[in-house]
Symmetry: C2
Subunit: 202 residues, 2 copies
Amino acid sequence: MARVTLRERKKARTRAELQRHALRLFRDRGFAATTVDDIAAAAEVSRSTFFRYFPTKEDVVLLDDVDPLYEAAFRAIPAGTPLLEALRRSMRAAFASLDEEKRVLEEVRMDLARTIPEIGAVLRERNAFGVDHVATLVAQAVGRPADDEDVVVFAGVVSGARLAAQVLVQREPGRPYIETFVHVLGRLADGVPLAGAPIVTG
Amino acid sequence: MARVTLRERKKARTRAELQRHALRLFRDRGFAATTVDDIAAAAEVSRSTFFRYFPTKEDVVLLDDVDPLYEAAFRAIPAGTPLLEALRRSMRAAFASLDEEKRVLEEVRMDLARTIPEIGAVLRERNAFGVDHVATLVAQAVGRPADDEDVVVFAGVVSGARLAAQVLVQREPGRPYIETFVHVLGRLADGVPLAGAPIVTG
DNA sequence: CGCTTTTCTGAGACTCAGTCTCAAGTGGTA
DNA sequence: TACCACTTGAGACTGAGTCTCAGAAAAGCG
């Protein structure tokens, strides 16, 4: 019964086609200048069908098989590992497990996020590594309730680290995102940099 | 020549009226269920006029005289103060400097942000305390370039702290936002909580 | 005060995102 | 094959956001 039906294959193909053409059009014409009709026409389906596969125009950029991998990798880290280190290792492991095709797609998405502000905003907003999401994961990992203050603060810092990594990548294009994120997390092991640095007069 | 013309007074009044009615309608009917027409009608202006004052429906929630105050307060902190402490003090100072009217407006906005998800998202996205914004401020304060890695990481952590504070406030309604933010920043002075905590098996 | 110039407003047309309904098409299954 | 469930396309509809244009109102000036 685990047979992949024709229907499922067709759906997967349609979804992939929609995303492929959408990303291409966004790159060529820009996000705003590309209408849903354009995307649907390029993928040779109707407008209705587009919205059946993606709730909004933004979501087409977000279709992402990567985020769930981070979570799975995190759960696979052995007990006893320090939390921050566990996060870093699971990031690396998840990324390493990507096949070539998905890694390329991921790069395209990151590139679009850097190039087109609207998309960057959406990615930031709906990505994994939202505070709530991280908090849930971390709470389980350290055996505390999800509304524990330490847990929430830690989750906030992780989200912040992701934001910092995005800025660093944006300012130095070509720098690999995952490595940067892992690096920033590493910087936090010994405390927050500059926290105690005295300010100087402007 | 600093005379406030009749035109300017009318414009300020119209803008305030639009915001007042918009917030009231959002609270009563919800954000999505309130159309721009509704707001314009309530404020007794045309739809066109609404968009002349606010570029989008979301922006009517964001009209905000508070954010610039944080920045000003920060610049007023004496040299030599440790960076993290300087940030905390300027937050407190800025909030204390608000007059009653603005503090009430701020509370309403925070309440809407907690109650209505769309508004929360927009506030998070366009608030001050974006990484870039904080990085610029911090870079000046410590006399380093804005793309210095330490500066960006620190700015990311501050943004993350704000996110954490928002989650904490959301989970414990009534908790004052500013105090929570200042508290979270304080937690980071001695390093990131839980960073070294060993994970346990799920 | 009256006249000209500048600014602001309202009306309405237009594009596009997103929702909904309904009828027709297509794969799954007996 | 025949039936059922799922999927699609067509098209109507609402509402956000943009744009243009003509008229009203304020500012500036003689």
